[in-house]
């Protein structure tokens, strides 16, 4: 059977006005003839209706009761103003996912395409329509129409439809039965906001808006198979779900008559919000709840009159009131079947869960991140992460926005002269209301309110250094609490971005990751110019106040890469060190995976990476049977008494290795050491020497080795630093540290 609405009449194919409808008919009797049979064409109001039979790829045991041949009716808008709709008239057509919720009295309507009609209407073909139809049935048979969700959006959208936006606090207010507030920001009330609180900025208008909310309990819920079209049907549906609609409506009407009945006769919109659990049509399993809106333009007075609660004030007294209560009223829902209700689009306010879903993230990340630095990197990265549903935010920065900052900041000109931290957090809260922003306007290295800062540090699950300052990164690494640390920055030339994320267990801390990063820069040939020439300009008269000339486009690209790296990196328990390098043609990603080991020597903590150990072993083996060696490059921190051994340089060409000695030469060594320091942005320096022992000898220092380290110590003491000597044998390694190092207190 086909859908043959009352008042429709059959027409010939050539009388169809919609081109796709015509094309469908041609296809059915042409290329599609093996599996389609044309039934009839009709016209109904503004619709062209094409009905036909479709052979379905039905397996022997379909999940839903789909037939081998289904009779379908496709409705097209003659003026092409609306998308087509596929209806199935047989009343026993099974309830499946991917069907539009249809009002009572209309046939089932399957949803074969969820792309916006305006995007696709220009190139829709009959072959595609039939292809999608066949695919729908094939998937239905296989139980592959996923999701229990029903499409609660109205199918035939009326001209003046209302769209509802539920604020984030709606659910909580509804759950607690608190007052709901309803307002609109446009005079036509096309968009209606409903929440648990009313923003102060909303002004009154001359429409009387009312919202009533009902929650259907899951255990009483049956899947809504047809959408109620009038108040009577809505009442019946709610009654099935255990909601005494008439009783609660009566209370609302009585309240309205007593308290809210306006003196002026205003336009009225009543929105009935119904929170219903989603029921799986195949398993009857209960899914997430959805809120559906039914809207009527009848007033409370109209409804009360139909229910027999009110009657029109014809007495001549208190003429300003249109309705008065009936005495001894006989409550009945019989009369409200001519109060139409129409389903409206319901949108939820943008929140973390929605953000994560729409971004393709597995779920919202509710952890609190403390971001240090609200500059160019911090502002761009945080905005992206907020839009992707990540984190609650604490922002720390003591800086004010200056005009030149605007070029590479997400903040605008109007924020100049204001706190970056405050302005950024209010920006982020405007993107997503649930970031629960906290702000510390302070410098982490020299805080004015250490207690407040420490409190925020303690509350954080993640600490993110976006300050582009090496001391801040090290300070963050050394903080005592357990929060996982991240650090991201751009190179001064604006061509590269670096992201470091500690592993969850913090076995590789930011300081370790920094040494790993510097080692990569030192020894990977493609990073020779990583920290290369920088185009700086003075932005004020002060000679140290330099700013780099980097376009916002680069910041956007690199921040995007960093944000993406953070989003995936914080989900993994592993540590991350990533370097992105932009060239004219491409962006190269370098993932550095390395670990470090720590040795205590003479009160010093010596940190060496696994890859450096491997490199030294390699150099030793290559030189065998002779000894070899070279200078060591690295970092000292005299306060922490920590030495990071980052790398080595090849032995100078005049070095001499024999089977029992190694004499490190000097040819071009000074230039090489300086070049290595420059290559890493002067982060690493000469720290000592290493040499190998031949086969059969342990790494225990010989008397010559002892003499050498003493000589080294004398040299290093000129810089107030200790000397490091590393001896590598076949199976072990000795680390010698001599000299105290000039610590801040000494």
């Amino acid at each position: 059977m086909y859908w043959q609405p009352k008042g429709s009449k059959t027409i010939a194919v050539r009388e169809l006005a919609n081109p796709l409808a015509k094309a469908l008919c041609d296809y059915i009797v042409g290329p599609g003839e093996d599996y389609t049979t044309l039934g009839e064409c009709r016209r109904f109001k503004e619709l062209d209706i094409v009905s036909f039979d479709l052979v379905v790829e039905r397996p022997q045991r379909p999940v839903y009761d789909i037939r081998s041949v289904e009779s379908l009716t496709v409705c097209f808008s003659r003026s092409q103003s609306m998308p087509f709709a596929v209806l199935i008239a047989r009343p026993d057509f099974p309830d499946t996912p991917h069907q539009n919720l249809m009002p009572e009295g209309l046939p089932a309507c399957i949803c074969i395409d969820d792309r916006p009609w305006q995007d696709v209407r220009g190139f829709y073909t009959a072959a595609e329509l039939l292809g999608r139809l066949s695919a729908w049935f094939e998937k239905a048979c296989q139980g592959e129409l996923h999701g229990v969700g029903q499409t609660f959006d109205p199918l035939f959208m009326p001209e003046n439809s209302t769209q509802i936006i539920l604020k984030n606090d709606f659910c909580e207010a509804a759950r607690q039965n608190n007052s709901l507030f309803i307002w609109s920001i446009d005079q036509d009330c096309r968009y209606i906001f409903i929440g648990g609180s009313r923003p102060s900025t909303v002004k009154g208008n001359d429409v009387e808006l009312t919202v009533l909310h009902y929650a259907v309990q899951p255990q009483q819920m049956k899947r809504m198979k047809r959408a109620p079209r009038d108040l009577r049907q809505l009442s019946d549906f709610l009654l099935q779900g255990g909601v005494d609609f008439s009783q609660s409506l009566q209370e609302s009407i009585n309240n309205w008559v007593r308290e809210r009945q306006g003196v002026i006769d205003r336009k009225s919109i009543i929105c009935f919000l119904v929170t219903v659990p989603q029921i799986d049509p195949a398993t009857n399993g209960i899914g997430a709840t959805e809120t559906v809106a039914f809207v009527t333009s009848s007033s409370m007075g109209d409804i009360g009159e139909k229910m027999g609660l009110l009657h029109r004030n014809t007495s001549g007294e208190a003429k300003e009131f249109k309705f008065v209560g009936s005495i001894g009223a006989n409550l009945s829902m019989d009369g409200v079947n001519d109060i139409p209700v129409s389903m409206s689009f319901v949108h939820k306010e943008f929140d973390a869960a929605g953000a994560a879903y729409l971004s393709g993230e597995p779920e919202a990340d509710e952890r609190r991140i403390l971001m240090i630095g609200a500059g160019s990197a911090g502002s761009a990265i945080s905005e992206t992460l907020v839009r992707q549903g990540l984190f609650k935010w604490t922002i720390v920065d003591d800086d004010m926005l200056l005009p030149h900052n605007v070029v590479r900041h997400t903040l605008n000109n109007q924020s100049v002269g204001r706190s970056k931290a405050i302005e950024l957090s209010s920006n982020l809260a405007e993107v997503r209301a649930d970031i629960d922003a906290r702000i510390i306007v302070d410098n982490v290295l020299t805080p004015t309110d250490r207690t407040a800062l420490n409190q925020q540090i303690d509350d954080a699950d993640l600490i993110f250094d976006a300050s582009a300052s090496v001391p801040v990164s090290r300070w963050a690494s050394d903080l005592p609490n357990t929060a996982r640390r991240l650090c991201a920055f751009f190179t001064p030339n604006g061509k590269s971005a670096i992201l470091m994320i500690e592993d969850e267990a913090r076995t590789s801390m930011l300081r370790d990751l920094e040494a790993i990063y510097l080692r990569e820069i030192l020894q990977n040939p493609s990073f020779a110019n990583h920290l290369g020439p920088v185009d700086r300009m003075q932005y004020s008269g002060a000679c140290r106040a330099l700013t780099n000339r980097i376009p916002m486009a680069s910041i956007q690209i690199l921040s995007g890469l960093i944000a993406n790296g953070i989003a995936s990196g914080v989900r993994s328990p592993e540590a991350t060190v990533k370097i992105w390098t932009m060239t004219e043609d491409e962006i190269r990603t370098t993932v550095v995976s390395d670990t470090t080991t720590t040795t205590k020597v003479e009160g010093w903590t010596v940190v060496i990476s696994t890859s450096l150990k491997k490199e030294l072993q390699q150099r030793r083996s290559t030189a065998l049977p002779s000894e070899t060696g070279g200078v060591l490059m690295g970092m000292f921190d005299c306060d922490l008494r920590r030495i990071d051994v980052v790398g080595t340089l090849p032995p100078p060409s005049d070095s001499v290795g024999t089977q029992i000695t190694f004499t490190r030469g000097v040819f071009r060594l000074k230039a090489d050491i300086e070049a290595a320091a420059v290559r890493t942005g002067n982060q690493i320096r000469y720290i000592g020497e290493w040499h190998s022992h031949p086969v059969g000898r342990s790494s225990h220092p010989s008397s010559t080795d002892i003499a050498q380290i003493k000589q080294l110590q004398n040299a290093m003491s000129l810089d107030g630093l200790p000397a490091v000597s590393l001896i590598l044998a076949e199976n072990d390694m000795s680390i010698l540290v001599r000299g105290t190092g000039k610590s801040a207190g000494e």
Partner: protein, 379 residues
């Protein structure tokens, strides 16, 4: 991946293409019957169709090619299509290789053959001598003698021989190929006189395909008659192997001949003998699919109806009757989707059972673009 079966419109002839879950492909029989010089011949250009099917599966050779027996309607022009190992002239670069050849034992010992039948026999003999790339179905005395004449023994070639009543080695329904083959014929069974041979018969197997935890069964075989079919039924029943006769898909024996049902054709409907009736009516699963690899079923009273050769209207009427109880399908290769324009009949084995695929629905544009074309819009 899902397994597929394809039956080709080749008139009264058999060619069954099977694509397994791991995309490996198996061919049962090859009969290229089309007359290239007759533009009205509706039979398919088989080599082209098979090459297309191989392309779709992403395969360049057959895991198995089975010749159920050597009748022309099961082997015609096979020697032009396959790469054969026994002689250089069958080894052109455009020929399709066969990893394993399946033949009934009779193929090796049959004499006075010509054309394709002879060439397949030579190939089978060559492979058996090599001791690889072949499975011979059953072990009659004639095979023993043949092997001994060639300085071999049955025992030395045991790994190449498959007996009725067991599974063909090398396939596992729990493995990635998700298939197994139970051999029904050719078979030997005990008589009062001892082991007696009925081995000149052809190959009949039950194929089990696993998909999504569910099994589908297909009975595939050659041109056996009601007697042989009854013997298969009785033998299986005697060994408690009834489940090895369950079927979702049954490729009709002998192109819808009444002789596969009963010795009597009947006026309008063939009434099958008891054992065959049981196979068709009790062992079929719900919504079964019967495939008749044959010409269109003749209309009563026409010239074709008077033809002694199958397909027989009376047999077809029986099949049409028995599928009604559960909405099964009776599909004739030369009638599907229409007699006017037959196309390969394509079955898909899904977790919900076997479905007949609508070849022409799958247009290029159809499903690929079901996600929004532009991010950022409300999809």
């Amino acid at each position: 991946m899902t397994a597929h079966m394809k039956f080709f419109p080749t008139g009264n002839a058999d060619t069954t293409f099977i694509q397994l879950a791991n995309n490996h492909v198996i061919l049962m029989d090859y009969a290229h019957m089309r007359n290239e010089n007759d533009s009205t011949d509706k039979r398919i250009d088989l080599p082209t169709a098979i090459r297309e099917a191989l392309d779709e599966a992403g395969q360049e050779s057959f895991r198995v090619v089975a010749f159920t027996h050597l009748d022309k309607d099961h082997v015609h022009r096979a020697s032009e299509f396959f790469w054969l190992e026994h002689a250089g002239k069958y080894q052109g670069s455009d020929r399709i290789k066969i990893d394993e050849l399946w033949v009934p034992a009779g193929v090796l010992t049959e004499e006075s053959l010509d054309n394709d039948a002879r060439i397949i026999r030579q190939e089978a003999r060559h492979r058996l001598k090599q001791g690889k790339g072949i499975k011979v179905f059953s072990r009659p005395e004639a095979l023993r003698s043949y092997l001994e004449e060639n300085g071999l023994t049955l025992e030395a070639r045991a790994h190449c021989i498959v007996d009725a009543g067991g599974l063909v080695p090398g396939f596992n329904k729990w493995g990635e190929e998700a298939v197994e083959f139970f051999v029904h014929s050719p078979f030997a069974w005990r008589t009062d006189e001892g082991l007696s041979d009925r081995n000149q018969g052809s190959i009949v197997v039950q194929m089990t395909l696993r998909e999504g935890g569910q099994e589908s069964y297909a009975l595939l075989g050659a041109d056996i008659d009601h007697e042989c079919l009854s013997q298969i039924v009785r033998t299986s029943r005697r060994h408690g192997n009834e489940d090895r006769l369950h079927w979702d898909v049954l490729k009709l024996f002998h192109h819808c001949s009444y002789l596969s049902l009963s010795p009597e054709k009947g006026e309008d409907i063939t009434e099958p003998v008891e054992d065959v009736k049981w196979l068709f009516e009790k062992l079929a699963r719900q919504n079964e699919i019967i495939v008749s690899p044959s010409k269109p079923i003749p209309v009563k009273g026409t010239e074709a109806d008077k033809d002694k050769q199958p397909p027989h209207r009376q047999a077809a009427n029986y099949y049409r009757k028995i599928i009604k109880d559960s909405n099964g399908k009776f599909l004739v290769t030369m009638e599907t989707p229409s007699e006017f324009r037959p196309k390969p009949l394509h079955l898909k084995i899904t977790a919900q059972g076997v479905a007949v695929m609508l070849a022409s629905v799958t247009t290029a544009t159809s499903i690929a673009a079901s996600t929004p074309t532009r991010a950022g819009r409300n999809g």
